[in-house]
């Protein structure tokens, strides 16, 4: 039991990092959204497995929230937004794919070194969960930093949040209230960003956030 539970948890959390990497590699919006849905699905599985292993039924709720909102509702909604805005062309990445992947690799290594050094006496499962969660968070940030398109920034933000959920479920005994509030805050953030998107679009005829910078007088 112990070995199997560790193995499966390791597999799922590791796959989450891998899917984060796949986000870095994508250069089309639709593909990016599909990958994000996959990200949420892997998170759901991971959380559900934790619920099963820790025998913590409330984690099933978290898994359910992740599945419904992040794997289905948000991708579908973003899909619609993209169709409406008519921006299903290539993402312009600020940095090329190669350097971004290199950076991502460095971030994963960094988060592992930090987490493994800090948590020397925690149990292996929690240690690896924390390290993977930090990598997912950093990779999400990297997606936000390297993309110009507002939609892909939303995706980066959401996957960052997935990392937080992974960390929370790895640390045993997080109360359900916190999870629900996190889920709702995400939802609200999503709505705000969605409205924001349409506002930028109305104003500038583009969702390239460089336009915003230009409007504020930064960059040229």
């Amino acid at each position: 039991m112990g070995e199997l539970s560790y193995d499966v948890a390791h597999l799922l959390a590791g796959s989450l990092v891998l899917v984060s990497f796949m986000q870095l590699y994508q250069d089309r919006l639709y593909a990016l959204l599909n990958i994000f849905a996959l990200h949420a699905l892997v998170l759901t599985l991971s959380v559900a497995w934790q619920a099963y292993v820790q025998e913590a039924p409330h984690l099933y709720v978290t898994a359910g929230i992740a599945l419904v909102f992040k794997a289905i509702v948000i991708p579908v909604a973003l899909h619609r937004i993209i169709v409406k805005l008519g921006i299903h062309r290539e993402i312009e990445t600020v940095v090329g794919v190669g350097p971004t992947m290199l950076l991502g690799m460095g971030l994963v290594a960094l988060s592992m070194v930090v987490m493994l050094r800090v948590t020397t006496d925690a149990d292996p499962l929690a240690r690896q969960d924390l390290a993977f969660a930090l990598s997912v968070v950093l990779l999400g940030l990297l997606v936000m930093v390297t993309r110009r398109n507002a939609v892909s920034q939303v995706v980066g933000f959401m996957s960052l949040e997935n990392g937080l959920v992974l960390a929370a479920t790895g640390a045993k005994g997080m109360p359900l209230v916190v999870e629900i509030s996190v889920a709702f805050s995400i939802l609200i953030a999503f709505i705000v960003i969605g409205i924001f998107l349409f506002r930028i679009r109305e104003r500038f005829d583009s969702v390239d956030i460089q336009t915003l910078d230009r409007f504020r007088g930064e960059r040229r």
Binding site: G96, G98, P99, A109, M112, V113, L116, R117
Partner: protein, 669 residues
């Protein structure tokens, strides 16, 4: 033993005046190079006897030269013997090559006197056992090689190359001077024995490491201190280029090993990180620079930078294992680094000789003007090919063995307790693998564009095979490449005393292993048998040839090339050096060199040719050196006014300086 070696060096110095006297006579060349060859061989024999001999004790000599209270200390221990062997093997080969090659020298009076001085300088650096004689020998080596770089000073770029070399060499010597100052401490123990007895404190040792990296790294060509190397090495006559690239960089490596492994005491945990990161970056940057070149000798010089990186990766690993109390693993890593020192000196000398032969035969160093030389110079082409395969780390030649050992050392890294190193070492392994693969690409280009295809210029079409002595030198080195590749156990075992002295352990004895394979750790872990791989390849290739010729067909018909039906008689339709590198330039160059390609199309109807221009920028030069150079230039312009003062003003300057110093003395507590 050390006395004999010193006599050899003295003979080399003694023929400097002889060379000066005979600089214009036609006998000068055979005499100078002949004596150099004999002395180098003698020194090589001394080194090998010391290295392989059973005597554990190092032989020491103190000569009443130099500073009166210090004298000049010389010592021949295992480490010095190994590097003495590497140096003099290279020197002997270069002298042999020069016996033939030097015939074509335009101004022998600019080469002959400095050549034996250069050899003597390198030998003395390796033998020196106190800071003073080390630095004097080091400067002697630098200046004589500078003079050789300036031998063809009328070629436009050479003056600049010589200037930059001089500046960087002085800078490096300054760093080494400070290193020894720190090592000697306030007591002023300037002999290596004194320094070894009193290792520096942790803070001082850190400064020593950094200064030693700067001092020896600038001579060896560590990125970002490599800028002079690809300018200066190709500028010298080819046998001297071979010496500078193949041998002098190894003397610098010797300086690093001597200071860091021998004199600076126990390494701190972070030393290895610095060395590993520098080594990895140097390896990849060196080969990327090399890929962008179309000057054959400059390409080879950049490859020296790459190989220095590989050597330093080995040393960085050794430092990591040594710092964490794993002497066996440290021995493996250090052996890998030192073996690569030997291997690189062999094949880099060989390749520079080949480039020299090509230069002689065609008058061209630019690969875009060469091609098809395999038909005109088949023997040179063959030995050059062996060198290319060896430096590309292809089994069963020698370059592969040392890289394989480095990989084996990298695979021991998870046992290290430090998390940072656990993650850094595999990343450096990836850099090493990348540089090895790129090196193969680079030498496909170097050999393919120079020797294969059709001649691109009349000079290349009219080339003649080089002379017998030059060929003999190259053949010897090519044979060594093969021998060191198929019998690496011999070389690993002979390195054992060196490694034992530096890290306190040695690799397992390879002598008794079955079938002459090498087993770095344990047989269940890894083993490699170059001999067997070589024999298998020969047998299976030969079997295939025999079977097909006997049973199927051995008929052959000559025809024009097929080329998908579009053969073009003009040789400029071939792939050139820069078009060959274009895919790799696109992949790596856009990031590393800010490579930009611009196509200028003539307007429709205009029959002018379209032009493709490629812009490459050396970011290291732009970021690091250009500001310094312009700063120095600006300061010099300011100070220019000082040249036009009257005598009274000059005197007042001196007077005020004197008064200022006296004041300082008076106020100093």
């Amino acid at each position: 033993m050390v006395h004999l070696a010193l006599i050899g060096a003295a003979v080399l110095i003694a023929i400097v005046p002889v060379a000066m006297l005979m600089r214009t006579s036609s006998h000068g060349r055979p005499i100078v190079y002949g004596i150099s060859l004999i002395v180098s061989l003698a020194l090589l024999a001394i080194a090998l006897l010391t290295l392989l001999g059973s005597s554990e004790a190092a032989s020491v000599a103190v000569l009443p030269l130099g500073l009166p209270w210090l004298g000049a200390h010389f010592r021949l221990d295992a480490l010095a013997a190994f590097f003495l062997a590497v140096v003099n093997l290279g020197c002997a080969a270069a002298s042999l090559f020069a016996l033939g090659y030097g015939r074509h020298e335009h101004d022998p009076q600019r080469v002959l006197p400095f050549y034996p001085a250069f050899l003597a300088g390198m030998t003395l650096v390796v033998l020196a056992a106190d800071a003073f004689s080390f630095l004097v020998a080091w400067e002697f080596m630098s200046l004589s090689s500078w003079a050789l770089v300036m031998a063809h000073h009328r070629v436009s770029d050479n003056a600049r190359a010589g200037y930059i070399y001089l500046v960087m060499a002085s800078f490096g010597t300054l760093a080494l001077l400070l290193t020894f100052g720190l090592l000697a401490g306030p007591g002023g123990g300037y002999t290596f024995a004194d320094m070894r007895a009193v290792p520096p404190s942790a803070g001082l040792a850190a400064a020593v490491l950094i200064l030693a990296l700067i001092g020896t790294g600038s001579k060896a060509g560590l990125v970002p201190l490599h800028v002079w190397l690809p300018l200066a090495h190709p500028a010298a006559p080819s046998h001297v280029s071979a010496l500078m690239s193949g041998v002098m960089t190894k003397v610098a490596v010797y300086g690093f090993v001597r200071i860091v492994f021998d004199l600076a005491g126990e390494p701190a945990w972070w030393w290895s990180m610095v060395v590993l990161a520098l080594g990895g970056i140097t390896a990849v940057m060196g080969v990327l620079y090399a890929l962008m070149q179309h000057d054959l000798k400059r390409l080879l010089a950049y490859h020296t930078v790459e190989n220095i990186g590989i050597i330093f990766i080995g040393f960085g690993l050794a430092l990591a294992f040594k710092a964490h109390g794993m002497p066996l693993a440290a021995a493996l890593a250090l052996t890998a680094g030192l073996l690569h020192v030997f291997n690189h000196s062999v094949f880099k000398s060989l390749l520079f000789f080949g480039a020299g032969a090509v230069l002689n035969a065609t008058g061209e160093r630019d690969m875009e003007h060469l091609g098809g030389l395999i038909h005109r110079m088949p023997q040179t082409a063959f030995v050059f090919l062996v060198g290319c395969a060896a430096i590309s780390a292809l089994p069963p030649l020698n370059g592969f063995v040392s890289e394989w050992l480095t990989f084996q050392a990298i695979l021991l890294s998870p046992a290290l307790p430090s998390w940072g190193l656990k993650f850094l070492v595999p990343a450096v392994g990836a850099l090493l693998a990348l540089s090895a693969a790129l090196a193969a690409a680079c030498f496909v280009k170097a050999f393919g564009v120079t020797f294969l295809g059709r001649p691109r210029t009349p000079a290349a079409a009219g080339a003649q095979e080089t002379d017998a002595l030059s060929l003999a030198a190259m053949m010897v080195l090519a044979a060594l490449c093969l021998i060191a590749g198929i019998l690496p156990g011999l070389f690993i075992d002979s390195l054992a005393p060196v490694v034992q002295a530096l890290v306190g352990a040695r690799m397992p004895v390879q002598h008794g292993v079955e079938w002459l394979s090498i087993v770095p750790v344990a047989e269940s872990r890894s083993s490699y048998n170059g001999l067997l791989v070589f024999v298998f390849m020969v047998i299976s290739g030969w079997l295939a040839a025999l079977a097909i010729h006997r049973l199927a067909s051995d008929r052959l018909r000559r025809a024009p090339p097929w080329d998908c039906g579009y053969p073009d008689p003009s040789p400029i339709t071939q792939y050139s050096a820069s078009s060959f590198a274009q895919p790799i330039r696109r992949v790596f160059g856009t990031m590393v060199f800010r490579a930009r390609e611009r196509v200028e199309m003539p307007p429709p109807g205009d029959s002018a040719p379209a032009r493709l221009t490629v812009e490459l920028r050396d970011l290291i030069w732009d970021v690091l050196y250009a500001p310094i150079a312009s700063g120095v230039g600006a300061a010099a312009t300011r100070l220019n006014a000082l040249q036009f003062l009257t005598i009274r003003q000059f005197l007042s300057l001196v007077f005020s300086a004197l008064v200022f110093l006296l004041l300082v003395l008076a106020i100093w507590p």
